[in-house]
């Protein structure tokens, strides 16, 4: 079983690398923002399988944290890209 899973991780990682190269080359910010998403799916899948291969059940916890924080990084990037493009948003009012 481990051999099969290892091959699968290898495939996923190769696809991840290919995708990352494509995504990081841009041209726009939007393309690059996809990097976080790509890792959020491919990377987590690889992590989960690696956890099974190495019999490390904590890998699932790591995957949970990764899922949460990959979102966070992507959201931060989206927010910053928005601000960089629209610097003249009206001044903020108090939040609810």
């Amino acid at each position: 079983m481990n051999e099969f899973l290892t091959v699968m991780v290898g495939l996923i990682l190769a696809l991840l690398a290919l995708g990352l190269v494509r995504v990081l080359r841009g041209p726009g910010d939007a393309d690059r923002m996809m990097a976080a998403q790509l890792i959020g799916t491919c990377g987590i899948a690889a992590l989960l399988i690696i956890g099974v291969i190495g019999d490390i059940s904590a890998a699932i916890d790591v995957a949970l944290v990764l899922a949460l924080l990959a979102t966070f990084a992507a959201a931060a990037f989206a927010e910053c890209a928005r601000r960089a493009q629209q610097p003249d948003t009206p001044p903020e009012t108090e939040g609810p």
Binding site: E3, T6, L13, A17, L24, A36, A58, F72, R83
Partner: protein, 315 residues
């Protein structure tokens, strides 16, 4: 199991590709995104190295918070990027640096490979002394008992760094709030995320702390998740950063290290040593310190990301 080593080569290969990208990318924001990706991938490496605790830390800090910091900075610096042709190194210089860096890296690699085998390890000693705290996670034992001094000082580092960041405020804004995020589209996806995700993040963050007693996890990693959740709320405009002049905030920011210090001195006064724990109560005391720490660290990390106060306090 013959094929498993190939797995490590794959992981290392992908990590290296992204690392190279981070260094050579032309514009800063794509380098930063590369770094975020690198940080996330590093979590895989740490799992492979049998260190899920560190994988959690790396996933949380290395890409999450550091990524948010760097991304924010890259966006703000974009305007000034074109003007930086300074201290540029010519081709010869670059080659020279590359050659020297290669030599240093090679020396380190040789040194690493020449390390004695079997490697010296404190793992048996850590295992033998685990009973003193009753904790099942050896790393929590190291952080909270064997090397508690480092952990205490590390919290102090965070406070000092925060004071350093605050010291960069314009004088008029002292006591005020850090730069705000512009108000996001109230029906946008970000606001939706900020309404739904944080409760889950709170549960997950405290879980990571709670589980650290016996399994991989930790107060610091949990605090990072909480900080990230708070930052999502801030980015979505659902809340505002508190004024740095507020005493309650300051109290919260030092509560963790102060509790740590008090417990440490208590150990000293009760006849033990500084940072020693009462024999039968070690586990609850350590968990109590960690709970005190999580809020402090979460607030400190979030404020470090938020930056120095730039809006003056309300009159």
């Amino acid at each position: 199991m013959t094929i498993v080593p190939a797995l490590d080569l794959f992981v290392a290969g992908v990590v290296l590709i992204v690392a190279v990208w981070t260094v050579v990318a032309r514009d800063s924001s794509s380098a930063v995104v590369g770094f975020v990706a690198y940080g996330l991938l590093l979590a895989l490496v740490w799992v492979r190295l049998g260190a899920p605790d560190v994988a959690l830390t790396e996933a949380a800090i290395g890409s999450g918070l550091t990524g948010a910091l760097l991304i924010g900075a890259a966006a703000r610096l974009r305007a000034g990027e074109s003007s930086t042709s300074a201290e540029h190194l010519g081709g010869v210089g670059r080659t020279l640096v590359a050659a020297l860096a290669t030599i240093v890296a090679a020396a380190i690699a040789v040194a690493l490979l020449s390390l004695p085998d079997p490697a010296p390890s404190l793992a048996p000693e850590a295992a033998a002394n685990a009973g003193a705290t009753g904790l099942g996670n050896p790393i929590t034992n190291v952080l909270m008992a064997f090397r508690a001094m480092d952990t205490m000082l590390e919290k102090f580092v965070l406070v000092i760094a925060l004071v350093g960041v605050w010291s960069l405020a314009p004088d008029g804004a002292w006591g005020g709030r850090p730069r705000s995020y512009h108000r996001a589209d109230p029906e946008g996806a970000l606001v939706f995320l900020a309404r739904v995700l944080p409760p889950l993040g709170v549960v997950l963050g405290i879980y990571v702390l709670w589980v650290s007693a016996d399994h991989p996890g930790g107060a610091f990693q949990g605090a990072t998740i909480l900080a990230a959740m708070w930052l999502v709320v801030l980015m979505a405009g659902l809340g505002d950063v508190p004024e740095v002049g507020r005493q309650q905030l300051r109290l919260m920011l030092v509560a963790g290290p102060v509790v740590f210090l008090i417990v440490g001195l208590g150990g000293l006064l009760l006849g033990g040593a500084f940072l020693s724990y009462p024999q039968d109560w070690a586990k609850p005391v350590i968990l109590a310190i960690e709970f005190a720490m999580i809020l402090t660290v979460a607030a400190t990390l979030a404020l470090l990301v938020a930056g120095p106060p730039e809006r003056s306090a309300e009159p």
